[in-house]
Amino acid sequence: MTETNWMRHSVQLGIVGVRRTIRGLRRNPYRLRLLGISAICGVISFGGMGVLYALLLRTLDAPISIPGSVRLGVSALWVGAVWFFSQRTLLYWRRPKAEAFVLTTVSTRTAAVGMLFTEFFTACLFLVPPTVLLVGVVGYAFLSPVSLLLVPLAVGLFAASAIVVGYTLSFAYLFVAARSRGLANQQGQLIVQFVFLVVVGYLVATILADLPAIWEVTTFAWVPMSWLVDLAVLGTPVTASLGRALAGVTGGVLVIGSGSLVVERLARAYWLTDPGSTTHDGGETTPSSRSHDGGTLAAGISPLVIPEFVGRPTQRVAQMVLLRLRRAPRRLLFLVTIVISLGIYLGVIYVQLDEPLALVPVVCALLFPWFAGAAFGLNPLGDEGSVLPATLTSSISGRQFVRGLMVPGLLYGLPITVLCTFVGSIVGPYSLRVQAGFVVIGGLLTVVAVGLAPAVGMQFPRFSAVTIGRSGGVVPPSMTAIIVYSLVVGLLGCGTVFALLAPASIYEYIAGGVVSVGMMRFSSVVSGLGIGLVVARWSYRAAARQFRRYTLA
């Protein structure tokens, strides 16, 4: 027997879901401010560009056709959106919120479709500003009132189809993982992510670096999701195919309809799978979660070691950080997602450079330090989960706790960064002095990142539940923490690397012949690193204070 009014109930769940999201945002003023700033910056920059393009397009008399690169861009964006939503499913939406209530109140179809509505409404929340901007630009450029309807329709179909496909892939994976021990454990999940990274990397390389490709850029004219471009520009002077536009709508609706059906089936099978066979956070089965590590933290992280001289409390925190990562490497998923996005972006830059190897040491000197800090200390309070009250009331001092968070990054992240940056700078077309500069920047930026991460993570923690005591499982750092941390590390790193590589003419102009260019460059790099170290020291102290004064909500 089917549930009557299931669609209405699903929409109800979606509305409640998005209302909860809005309330969550309003309760987080930092994130709200960041979103506001991003929106304003985006509107100003893209709006400005859009107006310029619109003015240009208005002056054109010749018919405009949709270039292949636009289709490629839309297709790539859609794939990226699918990836993004699949990650959200794996991280936040494996099971319905308030599961026991939802699943004993409505059918699994309602619960699954309700999740999709929640995600769609939430996406709409963030898509409104760019869509309004796009409608404005298209409308202004072509004086086309029909764009008021068709552009939002195209954006809506684009988002909804990406959500549904992302959820389908995630639930298919979860369904298989729940029945396979190899995939159920977190290492298995990380391997799947890594394989995806390699595949995406290869695809990007084939497109951008003229490697033997299985398609041409024009092939993207035949990817259904790129047909939404035809839909968006219908009624404007841009030459669009009505057939493709209609097929894009039909295809989108078909993908959404059939995908929702598959999501419902897979979600039902996954939700009603034995909860004891895999843990809710995708951990290992109960029997195999038994530790064979000898019962000590030191044995648990072997062959890695944390030296005694750091002091026992600090050593224990550091060991716990490493053990947590080893037992639940899914914590690194958020980094993998960022690395994929960044990798695609860097791939584009790489193929456009005359000396592509020049990019390698820059990436090493910036990315490895960022990773070393983000991997270990970007959500220290959330990582403690339900143990946090015990940690806060233990006799460990703030400094000991923060040092414990920093030690793994310094002990393992620092040498890896230095080594990789050294190798990267050798393959690059740089002089010995610049090579040394890269190594020093990489090393010191690691210290800065490792010192900064705990402070940012404590300022913007994320727990799996409102009440800390109920927090459990793997909790990725908050988006605010990731953005703030990345901004600070990125600005300091990019600034210092720029100081190292800036053309001599800039220094000559600034120095005005008073100081030599070499001295000017040296002092700029040292100043950049000095500022970074001051920031790191201040962050370290702030984090220690924050830990000591932290009170539970």
């Binding site: 009557t4 209530f101 004993t104 029997p287």
Partner: protein, 253 residues
Amino acid sequence: MSVIQATDLTKRYGDTIALDELTLSIPAGVVYGYLGPNGAGKTTTMRILTTLTQPTSGTASINGTPITDRTTVTRQIGYLPESPPLYYNLTASEQLDLAAGLRDLPEEQATARIESLLDRLDLREDADTRISDYSKGMRQKTAFIQAILHEPAVVFLDEPTAGLDPRAARTLREMIVELADEGTTVFLSTHILPVVEEVADTVGVLYEGQLVAEGTPTELTHRAETGGNQTLEEAFLNLTSDESDSVEADEHD
């Protein structure tokens, strides 16, 4: 007629047997106290009977509907798990309004019932406060209202009085008895034995996935090995100790 009927319910997690051929038959309008030590299989039983988990083998029905028919079964049950299933950034009013909406309860009737239950459980004044700001007991009471809002035929309650102050706990016990008087079957799992002793008509004791004893609280205390004026707690400890296995085995011999 049995409202809850389970026959040879078995649930395995890998090599572990959580439920071992459990057979239950619970008539309408009774409070069934479900006791057992940690890990005995109480929550698994509840998850199976509420359709949240599928049994490895065996069958079960609620009010004559097999648990495989989720849609029909979920209309007839209310479930309060140990951890209250609430959206913390909604207010209690909003949460209950959502629950009523999802169950298609007529609006006026739902509003009246929500208000009366909020009054009864002293939540009226805080109904427009976010659940995240509630105490554990207030959340428990909200989740209890949510479970009985639609006047289900069967209510499954997992530790419903946990975290409640004595006054609220008493109100809840009274409400459980009232529910049963009105014909609702209450399946009550708790470790607080005096609660079971006070409200339960029948008690089932689960041990290592098997129902090792069933009867009224008085019957159970009399059936305990040492006889005399036992409490339910002593009977429970007796029934769920390893020695009871050997005693039973000796009796069979």
